[in-house]
C-alpha cells in the first residue's frame, strides 16, 4: 500500500527536479547532467545484453559511433533535413548494423562473443580513421549544422548553442528510451531473456529459439546505443573516432554497469552516476581520472561483486527466503 503511494511521488519529484534542473544548477551542471544521461542510457543498453542475457560485448562503441556518424552525416549532407529525422537516421544506422551482425554474433556466446565484438569495434574505429573523405579522419566531423526542434506552425526551439533546450530534448528522448528498455524487460519476451541468462539449455527445452531471441535483444541494444551516440554527437557538435568509436567508449558502460550492478535494470544508471561524480571530483585535483576509476572498479569487484544494486537485491532475496521458511515454521509448530 505504502509502496503504491511512494513510488509515483518519487517519480513526480524526479520529473519536477528535471524540469527545473537548468534553473536550479546552472549551465555547467546542466551539461554535466546531459553527459551523464547519455552514458547512463548507453550503459543500460549495454546491460540489456550483459545483465539480462549474459552477453558481454567489447565493441559497443561501434553502435554508439554509427548513431553519431549517421546523424552528423545526415545533417551535413542532406539539405534542409529536420532534427528528428536526423536523429532517427543515427538510430536506424545503429539498428541496421545490429541487424546485419545479429545472424553471425548470436551463434556464439561467452568469450567468443566478447572477442568478435572487440574485433568489429576496432575495425570500425580504423575505418573511421581511414575513410577520410567520408568521416573526416582523425578530425572527425565537426561543426555540422544543427537545426532547431520545430513543430511547423507551433513551436521552434533552437538547439545550436542552446544547452538548455538541448537538455530538454535529450531528457525526453533518453527518458523514452529508458522507459522502453525497461518495459521490454517486463514483457513475456523479457522473461525469456533472463531465462537465457540463467539457463540456455532449459530455455531451448521449453521450446524457445535461442538465436532469434538473442538477435532481437541485440538489435534493441544496438539501436538505443545508437540513439545515445547520436545525442552525444549533437551535444558536442562533433563526432570523431576517438570520441565515439574508441575502445574506452566500449569499456566505460561495461564498467559502469558492473559497478552499479548488472543484475538490475537501474544498476548501470547508478554506476554511471558514481563515475560521473568521481570524475567531477577527481578533475579538481588531478588528470588521472582513469586511475581513480580503476581503483573504484577493483574495490567494487572485491567487496560487492554484483554491484551496488546486486548487494541490495541479494538482501531482498534472503529476506524472501527467510519469511517463507518462517511461515513454514509457524505452520508446523
Amino acid at each position: 500500500m505504502m509502496k503504491k503511494i511512494i513510488k509515483p511521488i518519487l517519480w513526480l519529484a524526479l520529473l519536477v527536479i528535471l524540469i527545473f534542473f537548468p534553473k536550479l544548477f546552472g549551465i555547467y551542471y546542466t551539461n554535466v547532467f546531459v553527459t551523464f544521461a547519455i552514458f547512463a542510457t548507453y550503459a543500460v543498453a549495454v546491460n540489456v545484453l550483459l545483465g539480462y542475457t549474459g552477453l558481454l560485448s567489447f565493441g559497443h562503441a561501434m553502435f554508439f559511433g554509427f548513431g553519431g556518424y549517421g546523424t552528423a552525416l545526415a545533417l551535413k549532407h542532406i539539405d534542409g533535413i529536420a532534427l528528428m529525422p536526423a536523429i532517427g537516421i543515427g538510430f536506424l544506422a545503429a539498428m541496421l548494423l545490429a541487424l546485419v551482425l545479429a545472424p553471425v554474433v548470436t551463434r556464439v556466446s561467452g568469450t567468443a562473443f566478447a572477442m568478435v565484438h572487440l574485433a568489429f569495434g576496432q575495425l570500425f574505429y580504423i575505418l573511421a580513421l581511414k575513410l577520410r573523405n567520408i568521416t573526416g579522419g582523425e578530425d572527425g566531423i565537426g561543426n555540422f549544422p544543427i537545426p532547431a526542434f520545430t513543430i511547423p506552425g507551433l513551436i521552434s526551439f533552437p538547439m545550436k548553442g542552446d544547452p538548455v533546450n538541448f537538455f530538454y530534448l535529450a531528457m525526453v528522448l533518453l527518458g523514452i528510451s529508458l522507459w522502453l528498455m525497461w518495459f521490454f524487460t517486463k514483457t513475456p519476451f523479457g522473461q525469456i531473456q533472463v531465462g537465457i541468462r540463467d539457463n540456455e539449455k532449459r530455455i531451448d527445452y521449453l521450446g524457445y529459439k535461442i538465436p532469434q531471441t538473442k538477435a532481437i535483444i541485440y538489435v534493441v541494444s544496438g539501436a538505443f546505443t545508437g540513439l545515445a551516440g547520436s545525442l552525444y554527437g549533437l551535444f558536442h557538435n562533433l563526432v570523431s573516432a576517438d570520441g565515439s568509436l574508441g575502445a574506452m567508449i566500449s569499456f566505460s558502460p561495461i564498467i559502469a554497469a558492473m559497478v552499479g550492478g548488472v543484475g538490475s535494470f537501474f544498476g548501470p544508471i547508478w554506476g554511471t552516476a558514481v563515475f560521473q561524480v568521481i570524475e567531477e571530483l577527481t578533475h579538481r585535483f588531478t588528470d588521472r581520472v582513469e586511475l581513480v576509476m580503476g581503483v573504484t572498479l577493483i574495490l567494487v569487484v572485491m567487496f560487492a561483486p554484483s554491484g551496488i544494486m546486486g548487494f541490495v537485491n541479494t538482501m531482498k532475496m534472503k529476506w524472501h527466503a527467510y519469511t517463507a521458511s518462517k511461515a513454514k515454521m509457524e505452520k508446523t509448530s
Partner: protein, 248 residues
C-alpha cells in the same frame, strides 16, 4: 500405437561407445520405465531422443514422424517435454517465474514485447494453479537457487509437465529425495500425467514397480529385456545382470 520409437540407435562420445543399437518402443498412454546400472547409457538415450545430441547412427520416431536430429525447441513445440537428472532451473528467477516461463511456452507466447507479463491474468492464474498442484505455492517468490533440495526437484519436474507435453521424459525425478518426498512426487506424477505418455529413468525399484506399466532394462548400452513389471522381475538375465543385487 507407439508414440515413441527408436530404431537401431547408436551413440558414442568421440570413440567411447555408449549406445549399441537401441530399439525402444513406447506405447501411447503408458508409463514406461528405463532401468539399468550406473553408466548403462540411460541419460544418453534421453539425450539422443530429445535433441541434446545427434545420434551417431539410427533413427528416432515421435508420433510416427522421423525426428532424428531435431533440436530441443522443435521437439518441445511438437509435444515432447523432459526433466533433468541434474536440476536445471532458472536459479535467479522465482519458482513462480520458472513455472510461468513454461506456461508462456505452452501458449506459444514468445516474441511478445508489447504487454506487461505481470498483467497477463490468465497466465498468472494458470501458473499459480500449477504451483498449488505441485505444492510450491508457499515458495512462490523464492528464487529457484535458494529452494530446498526436495523443492527444487519438484520445480524441476513440474517445469517439464507445465508445458503440457504429450510425451514426458523424466530422468531420475526422485534422485536424492527423502522417502516422503519420493512418495509425494510419485503421487504428483500420477495425478499430473493422467492420459499422457511418460518415460522415467529410475533406480528406486519401489518407484519403478509402483509406477510403470512396462519396463525396459538397459545394460552396457544394449536393451537386455522389455516387458511388464512381473515379466521383468522374473527374467533370469535381468536378475543376473542387475536386479539380483537389488533384492526386489
Amino acid at each position: 500405437m507407439n508414440i515413441l520409437e527408436t530404431k537401431d540407435l547408436h551413440h558414442d562420445f568421440s570413440g567411447l561407445k555408449v549406445l549399441f543399437g537401441i530399439d525402444l518402443q513406447v506405447e501411447e498412454g503408458e508409463r514406461h520405465a528405463v532401468i539399468g546400472p550406473n553408466g548403462a547409457g540411460k541419460t544418453t538415450l534421453f539425450n539422443t531422443i530429445t535433441g541434446t545430441y545427434h545420434p551417431s547412427k539410427g533413427k528416432v520416431f515421435f508420433k510416427g514422424k522421423d525426428i532424428t536430429g531435431y533440436k530441443p525447441h522443435k521437439l518441445a513445440r511438437i509435444g515432447m517435454g523432459r526433466s533433468f537428472q541434474i536440476t536445471s532451473t532458472f536459479t535467479r528467477l522465482t519458482a513462480f517465474q520458472n513455472i510461468r516461463l513454461a506456461i508462456l511456452a505452452k501458449h506459444g507466447i514468445r516474441f511478445n514485447l508489447f504487454r506487461y507479463v505481470d498483467k497477463m491474468k490468465d497466465i498468472t492464474r494458470e501458473t499459480e494453479i500449477m504451483l498449488e498442484r505441485v505444492n510450491l505455492i508457499n515458495e512462490r517468490n523464492v528464487p529457484a537457487g535458494l529452494l530446498s533440495y526436495g523443492k527444487s526437484r519438484a520445480l524441476e519436474i513440474s517445469m517439464a509437465m507445465a508445458t503440457d507435453p504429450e510425451l514426458i521424459l523424466l530422468d531420475e525425478f526422485a534422485a536424492g529425495m527423502s522417502r516422503d518426498e519420493t512418495h509425494n512426487a510419485v503421487a504428483m506424477i500420477r495425478k499430473m500425467t493422467e492420459g499422457k505418455t511418460v518415460v522415467i529413468i529410475e533406480h528406486d525399484m519401489d518407484v519403478v514397480f509402483s509406477l510403470a506399466d512396462r519396463i525396459t532394462v538397459l545394460h552396457y548400452g544394449k536393451i537386455l529385456a522389455t516387458g511388464k513389471p512381473d515379466d521383468i522381475r522374473d527374467n533370469q538375465d535381468v536378475k543376473d545382470a542387475y536386479l539380483g543385487d537389488l533384492h526386489v
